[in-house]
Structure formats: C-alpha cells, structure tokens
C-alpha cells in the first residue's frame, strides 16, 4: 500500500506542477483562475492520499474546508472578472 501511495503522490506532484505551468503561462485572468481551482482540487486529492497512507483522520477537516473555499473563491473571482474584463 505504501508503494502505491508513493506512486500516487509522485503523479499528484506532477499534475500540480502542470497546473502551475498553466498558472504562470495563463493567457487571460480566467485561465489563471481555472489553473488555481484545478491546483486546489489536485491538492485535496493529494491530502486524501496522505490521509489514506497514514490512516490518520487529522487531515480530513482540512480537505472539507479546502474544497468549499475553492468553490467560494472561484465564484468571487468570476464576479470580479465580469466587471473588470479578463484581459
């Protein structure tokens, strides 16, 4: 099980880096927001794997909050983009 979570965590890190590439290269503001939202979901998955690996319930509260905060921030920035324009 440890080997599986090792491989899983390595892949999660890779997808996190790919999200950061889009974040830095992002065309418009909307691209950056999508990259950030995806990065957050990837991090939530990574922490889920860590929770499974250490079999410890400490991580779980953070995941619930992170997922909800991700949604709230996406909606807030969407409202901001609508007024300002996503150059």
């Amino acid at each position: 099980m440890i080997a599986v979570t090792n491989v899983a965590l390595a892949t999660i890190t890779l997808s996190g880096l790919l999200c950061m590439v889009r974040l830095l290269r992002g065309g418009s503001l909307a691209d950056r927001i999508i990259a950030l939202d995806t990065l957050l979901v990837v991090i939530v998955s990574g922490v889920g794997i860590l929770a499974a690996r250490n079999n410890s319930p400490i991580f779980l509260d953070m995941i619930v909050l992170a997922a909800l905060l991700g949604f709230v921030s996406t909606v807030t920035v969407a409202r901001y983009i609508e007024k300002r324009g996503a150059r």
Binding site: V7, I33, I34, V75, A86
Partner: protein, 112 residues
Amino acid sequence: MSPLDVISAALLLAGVALNLLGAVGLNRFDDVFARMHAATKATTLGMVFVLTGAALQMSHLGDAFKMMLVIVPQLITAPVGAHMISRAAYRSGTELSDKTAIDELAEHPHGR
C-alpha cells in the same frame, strides 16, 4: 494485499491518473472554454476516485463519511463554478480560439 487494499489501490491510481489527464488537458487546449472542460471534469472525477479509494483505507467509519462530505459538495459546486467562470470570461470579451466552428451565443441578443 487484502482484496480491500487492491480495490483502493486501483481506485487511487485511477483517480491520480485522471488528475494528471486533467492537468495535461489544461495545458494542451488552446482557449479558456476548452480548458474549462479538462480542468473541471477530469480533476473532479479524479478526486472522487481518489477519495473513495482513501475512504476504503480508513479504519473508522466516521472518517470515510468525512471524505464523502468532501465529494458530494464538490460534485455539486464544480459545475456551478465552472459555469460562472466561463460566462464571466465570455461576457468580458475573451476571444475564442480560431478553431471554433460557430459561436451560437454571438447571435443571441444579450450574448456579449
């Protein structure tokens, strides 16, 4: 590796692979709206698989339910967030990529 471990390992790897596909799709598509597909659909389903696999590993049932508490709101909120972002991007004038065949929303009276 008990059968439960095998199932959760498979779920974990499938979810992680989906997350990777979502991140790769985020970089390969060429306009905001195409990237939206990869970013929200693949990573959300990947997260569902990963957390289900992790829930199987948990010793207490309460922890597994807490993971479900992450999955269900994410499944509800991901489409809403994606829709709001793409509508805001479209309304504020993000240009579509040249590969776009038709833009049905353009003829709509208050599309732009």
